[in-house]
């Protein structure tokens, strides 16, 4: 059980990091896109 718990902690660390990385990349691209395509 301890093994499984340690793996679940690993999933927590990697999972949260992965979600943040993906959403931050999307956020930066959206910010860039908004600047580039700004309607005058």
């Amino acid at each position: 059980m301890l093994d499984r718990f340690l793996i679940s902690l690993e999933i927590m660390g990697k999972g949260m990091l992965g979600i943040f990385i993906i959403l931050i990349i999307i956020m930066l691209i959206v910010m860039l896109l908004s600047k580039i395509t700004k309607e005058k």
Binding site: F5, I7, I11, I19, I24, M27, S34
Partner: protein, 379 residues
């Protein structure tokens, strides 16, 4: 006369218990308006599949052989074989979502990530309670606050608790207006709940709106390929909406397609609510862990907002973090209602909606990442 009463005499207490569960779900759907589109078909289905020798399940009749049951067939074809029903539903959901409030305030993306914390916390709790890793991950996904994602992930991970997971996911989504205020109050002060946030939306070009679903699909697909079926179909639906040249398809996806799939999904999921699979102590544990997942989603989002406040000049009302879960638009409404309760002139709705739609993306990305991590680690 035996042939007339054989059905009645063969009812087990577990089946009777499932009739009560079915009746409870129907009651919650009709009288309490708790996610009626899903809970009502699930409740009725729970009764259908638990009738002795039910004709909606495959049966072997003496002298005739095997007969096919409609609900069992729907489950095998629509969920087990292809996960088609939950995935197709994402087209409708994508077509319904206006990402405008998020695109005009991209900072809200961060809350869509932070509020997925409950998923991973629940996975840890489930493993501590003795569930296998694939079952624990499936149970944790209840915290995505997203019914179709929960069904899809638990089906791909071949969890035997898919019925309990679906019931927990949809029940707690309906209970967001009760769960979230309590969790928010637990980790915020009145002063924090009164923080004002001016809303100055930036205009969003049509190009950005059209490119957004394509870019999200690319990024999520390249980083977490397992999320493509979820993110891809969600974003396909959104592209139908934003392209402005497929209005009738977009409307069909939002209405007829979403309604039809929802109708079938609820009754199909009831296949996993057969007494022998549902009535056990694990179901009770799953309901408890699901509740923990929702609470820690909320706490994760709120604490992340408080963390950002340590470094930013323009303070964020921490309640916005709680809206980063996928339950749309219930969560945004909860935040708006709570802010108005503290200060009747403090309107946070648009910020909360931005965080809430970000949660829609966050939850499907989380589903994909959990699938990838768990399959890698089990391997």
């Amino acid at each position: 006369m035996d042939y007339l009463i054989s059905g009645i005499t063969s009812i087990t207490w577990q089946e009777f218990f499932m009739y009560v569960i079915g009746a409870l779900l129907i009651y919650l759907a009709i009288c309490k308006d708790f996610e009626p589109a899903l809970l009502l078909p699930m409740g009725f289905g729970a009764i259908l599949v638990n009738l002795p020798a039910s004709g909606v399940l495959d049966q072997t009749l003496e002298g005739i052989g095997k007969t096919n049951g409609i609900i069992e067939w729907l489950f095998h074809v629509g969920i087990e074989a292809s996960e088609a029903l939950p995935i197709l539903l994402f087209i409708g959901i994508g077509a319904m979502i206006d990402f405008g409030p998020l695109l005009s305030n991209p900072k809200m993306f961060l809350f869509g990530a932070a509020a997925q914390f409950g998923i991973f916390f629940a996975i840890c709790v489930a493993t501590l309670l003795g569930f296998s890793l694939n079952d624990a991950a499936s149970i944790g996904i209840i915290g995505a606050a997203d019914g179709p994602t929960s069904i899809l992930v638990s089906q791909i991970l071949k969890s035997k608790y898919i019925g309990a997971i679906a019931v927990a996911a949809y029940s707690y989504m309906a209970l967001v207006p009760i769960i979230q205020p309590a969790a928010i109050k637990l980790v915020t002060t009145k002063k924090e709940r009164m923080i004002r946030m001016p809303y100055n939306p930036k205009s969003i070009s049509k190009t950005t709106r059209i490119l957004f679903p394509i870019i999200v699909t690319f990024i999520a697909g390249l980083v977490a390929p397992q999320s493509v079926s979820l993110v891809g179909f969600l974003m396909f639906g959104n592209l139908l909406r934003e392209c402005n040249v497929l209005k009738s398809l977009s409307e069909t996806a939002q209405n007829e397609l979403a309604n039809l799939i929802t109708l079938l999904l609820g009754i199909t999921i009831s296949f996993s609510m057969r007494a022998e699979a549902f009535v056990n102590i694990s179901t009770l544990l799953i309901m408890c862990i699901g509740l923990i997942a929702f609470i820690f989603d909320t706490i994760g989002g709120v604490l992340f907002a408080k963390l950002l406040n340590l470094f930013s000049k323009q303070k964020i009302n921490p309640m916005i973090g709680a809206a980063g879960i996928s339950a749309f638009p219930m969560s945004a409404r909860v935040v708006q209602k709570m802010s108005l309760k503290e200060d009747p002139t403090n309107h946070l709705l648009m910020h909360a909606i931005g965080a809430n739609v970000s949660g829609q993306i966050g939850s499907v990305v989380a589903g994909g990442i959990v699938l990838k991590l768990v399959s890698d680690l089990i391997h």
